[in-house]
Symmetry: C2
Subunit: 233 residues, 2 copies
């Protein structure tokens, strides 16, 4: 389930149309980092790789553009968007807001079993910190939040969260690195969040906590960046 949850974004079914196939394939390559930010997406090339013609590929790229994963310039071509630290800031800020809302809306629907599952994931995350496994850590982090959002009653908001994640994924491996200390804080905040939920705290408090959880990561990044070069690109 976590796998599907990670992939899902647009309602469009996973049917076997070539357009869908192209969409899924290109998106997967962007999210998993095969195509990193700035990568030039040449229609004909992708079409050949996938064994289809250019028309479905164009469609796929247009959709990805609407999701913000790709930048498409008239008569020039498509490139994987990202790179820009400003973009990272925008994305994180937006995520902070929609994740906060998603968590608050989900909270009343989260049962003891879910909390237990989330705790298990969080424990694994702690292990990752021992062995220093950032990739797995990131994946588990999504799993953790997936558990929280599973029951989110508003699919639109959930969709926004997923889109944000995808955007981040396209950025992560290349430009933006871990802020070491932050990871430890993160798992602690997860535990705090779970306790808030268990204790039946007000949606407002839960939202604030969830929101801060995300903003704190952004702040840590900004602090680190500004330490190096202060000039925001």
């Amino acid at each position: 389930m976590t796998e599907t949850a990670r992939a899902a974004t647009t309602p469009a079914a996973t049917s076997g149309s070539k357009s869908e196939q192209a969409y899924a394939a290109v998106k997967a390559r962007i999210v998993d980092g095969t195509y990193s930010p700035g990568y030039r997406l040449v229609l004909a090339k992708i079409a050949e790789d996938l064994g289809v013609s250019v028309v479905p590929v164009r469609e796929a790229i247009r959709r990805l553009e609407a999701e913000g994963l790709v930048k498409f310039e008239r008569n020039v071509g498509a490139t994987v968007s990202g790179i820009d630290p400003t973009e990272y800031l925008y994305t994180m800020q937006t995520l902070s807001i929609v994740e906060g809302a998603a968590t608050a809306l989900s909270a009343p629907l989260i049962g003891a079993a879910d909390v237990a599952r989330a705790r298990a994931v969080n424990a694994e995350m702690r292990e990752c910190l021992q062995h220093f496994d950032p990739v797995r850590f990131t994946r588990l982090n999504q799993d953790f939040h997936s558990v929280l959002f599973e029951h989110c009653p508003n699919p639109h908001i959930l969709d926004l969260v997923h889109r944000g994640w995808n955007r981040l994924a396209s950025l992560r491996s290349s430009t933006f690195r871990f802020v070491p200390g932050r990871a430890h804080e993160s798992v602690d905040e997860h535990e705090a969040l779970l306790q808030l939920i268990e204790s039946g705290a007000s949606p407002d408090d839960i939202e604030k906590a969830a929101r801060r959880h995300r903003s704190a990561t952004l702040d840590a990044y900004l602090a680190q960046t500004n330490a190096g070069s202060l000039s925001a690109h």
Copy 2:
């Protein structure tokens, strides 16, 4: 400027490609109600209307699908999405959140001139209530909020707001009607919001107020609906 603000959604330029043209045209027809929810979008027909071939139209529709304005079923066709009251609820709830955030982020950047402009718009809205002109009222309502959001430093969030508005626009004229009393409350809340901003209230308070402004409209709608038939479709 209000006109552009109302139209903008996807970063894609307004260049003259046929694909762009088709996208803009279909979107406009959805937003202005020419194509109401459930309307069957036949590719060949649209292509002929616009004097282009089907390929650019497909692209356009795919983009609109990613924005949530259109539902696209494999081998069946595209229809204008909407209709469903549940969808209305989701959209309003989401808007409440992103508008709240957008307002809070914009507030520190709003100057006296902007406030004055917003007041002028709000005054016009009051007039609309006298002459009962819901269409103009809705348009002015967007103008009002456009003034507030103009300076929003996060374009992603602004984009989400616009998308929400477009979705609402596609719904409004057909299914969802005004809740009469609500309109009066609305202009009062606008004034209160402006005063909050002028007084330099905390972003948190501003966000709450802006959020409630939107939720209240939703609540009014729900109350009215439940009064009639309680069964949420």
